[in-house]
Symmetry: C2
Subunit: 145 residues, 2 copies
């Protein structure tokens, strides 16, 4: 399975439209790859996955599409230390957990009350429009989910 669900296809063209950008097969395929396997892939990984569905796509296009999706607000970049940028289509407020052992990155839902509280630690003159929360450690048990 790989093609975009109707809902996601709609969200994609709405967002692209809104920023005066075209809906293209490359953008649809890259977006589908991100929605389909939500493991915070790097550009390289997105390239490999997209190429398996669309063998002619280039790395440059993957970077272009990812940048477009980010600038339209459909995808977030996740930077952890100096590692290659990862991409996350989860738009709900969440933190990331980076496992030192496997290198994998997991979404951790954050109650919106907590986000409020976080904003509260900022002195008055600081006006934040984004908050980024990253945990690092390891997962206990064989729980790899």
């Amino acid at each position: 399975m790989n093609s975009l669900k109707q809902m996601d296809r709609g969200a994609l063209s709405d967002a692209l439209d809104h920023f005066g950008q075209r809906t293209t097969p490359q953008r649809e395929t890259v977006f589908g790859v991100l929605l389909n396997q939500r493991d915070h892939p790097t550009a390289d990984e997105v390239y490999a996955r997209t190429k398996s569905q669309m063998p002619t796509i280039s790395m440059a296009t993957v970077y272009n599409c990812l940048e477009t999706l980010v600038s339209c607000g459909l995808v977030k970049q996740v930077n952890i230390e100096r590692e290659p940028t990862r991409y996350c289509p989860n738009l709900s407020p969440h933190a990331h957990f980076h496992c030192r052992e496997t290198g994998r990155v997991y979404d951790v839902p954050v109650p919106s009350g907590m986000m409020q509280e976080l904003a509260g630690v900022l002195p008055g003159e600081y006006e934040a429009d984004s908050v980024e929360l990253v945990f690092r450690g390891h997962l206990s048990k064989g729980k790899t989910k």
Copy 2:
């Protein structure tokens, strides 16, 4: 003013000793640069500042010293988006605020209770040994501190 205070010199050699590393003039100078101007400089900036006190130091040595200080736990790396790594000698629990307008990075103290609460959002199987919190936005007023 630039030389290390006795307290800091002690902390430095203790930490280096503890990890079987030598106290060298380069390491002292780089550490002093970080303690002296706590604006989260990049390696380039640390290089420039250190060079003004020790004109023969090389970029490679600055990177080596910074890495040594980090591995001894005296300094933290601060990564924001894809920008060059910054270095922070503030060991108390704090968040960072990145001003989109000036590019500057500020320390924001975080009450330890808040850190507890943050750890609380993690499901049981996630064991975090570090938490990183970064705000992005802008500073109101001419308050450039």
